[in-house]
Subunit: 249 residues, 2 copies
Amino acid sequence: MELARPTPKASMSEPLEDYLETIYLLVQEHGFARVKEIAKARGVKAATVSIALRKLSEAGFVNYVRREYIGLTERGEEAARRVLTRHRLLTRFFSEVLGMSPHAASEQACSLEHALTDEAMDRMVRFFEFLGTRPSVVAAFGQCPTGSRPGDVEPCGTASPDCARCSLAPKEKAMSIATMKPGQSGVVTQITATGALRQRLLDMGILPETKVDVERSGPGGHPLWIRCQGARLALRRAEASSVLVRAGA
Amino acid sequence: MELARPTPKASMSEPLEDYLETIYLLVQEHGFARVKEIAKARGVKAATVSIALRKLSEAGFVNYVRREYIGLTERGEEAARRVLTRHRLLTRFFSEVLGMSPHAASEQACSLEHALTDEAMDRMVRFFEFLGTRPSVVAAFGQCPTGSRPGDVEPCGTASPDCARCSLAPKEKAMSIATMKPGQSGVVTQITATGALRQRLLDMGILPETKVDVERSGPGGHPLWIRCQGARLALRRAEASSVLVRAGA
DNA sequence: CCGTTCTGTTAGAGACTTCTAACAATGGAG
DNA sequence: CTCCATTGTTAGAAGTCTCTAACAGAACGG
């Protein structure tokens, strides 16, 4: 597998974009921004902000007279809005679609906002437009009659077909890796494990729609050896039985 | 609006993670990795790789004897797989769900993979599991009878209810910002513009489900002033008429 | 008016990644 | 075996962002 590397782009550095974003929000909130507040909002020292402001000012993003109030230029506002819009879009994706808490969603968005390309953003917006015409989709993945959050882990037990967790409840005849024989292969459909166990399986590369081949099936407590994405992995029985598969290529 | 900043994490730097990922793939492909190949794959000079290898070796991620073949330790493999899995998951999201080309999706994934939290990844996987049980959803957003790609811009004209672009075609009675009177407000449902015009509107913060207030409606060629997300924006008529809204809070 | 306190700036340093240029080791070809 | 080409390493420098420590300017109370 070749990794496609991002083509280098001549734009602003991430920290500087963060300063613009912060200033934009402070100005919106208080009408002005001050070094101390920017520092507090970004979690850095005032000295660092001072230096950043000089750079932003030289680059024409900030109107900045030493020791006076700080404002954004036209260009600065545009750049800030650009980043902030990405922030909001990503936040909404992680909270409204995936069901993360607003705070966690915003943190996650903060880490990703600088790198979201125009195209990806365009298509995400289109996806939101689409979901707007299909409210049942988000509802199905998301709200459950019990009121628990989208993507939550435990089945809610209402057995509603509108509830993702119910419709995701393992089918009676679902096969897990644990029941596969050496030489067999399957395609992952669901990982039923939760918590650290789930995370471990995911980190190993066991994702929905990936192919797994069983190489050696240890009896009893022995580990099960599988191949997945070209890697050879050892699974314990508890892990293996939480990976559901369907027969497949 | 408060921006939630990511809590600082004590893990590896992004460039070092990239080296691990690259080495992992090279080892999988050729059975070994060499400085020159790593440098080529990452687009840096050999000298830089040499220094990175020393660090990775000291940190216990790489088995590395000067001028000998390079391999990953157990820890190194785990870390590499962790990143690579995120890469693959994000790539699939951007290509399979949003319809980007595999190459663009992989590039985008590369920029985001290091910052995806465990929780977000967990929920994205859950979302994939869910979509696996609802193939019609992705199909509806994605494949169209004409075979054009998901998220594509032009309506395909088949008027199939299974085609997102058809079902997204502006309803007869859809209202655009351009027809709103000063004082009215609405909630954005769709941006019909394409290309640079669309990108401009998005970057200004005009996203689906955001509220817009019309402040001054210029006659004829004059700009229309709106408020959106706390910002005061001027739209030309062509821009305004491509933002569809529904009456709303 | 003077001193204290708050705010912002500068200087100097460290961590990180990358580069170029020069050097060292390895491996074949003759 | 020797020479040359390839491959990898080191030294030195630049650019980024950050910090601490020391300083300067402003504001306010007494």
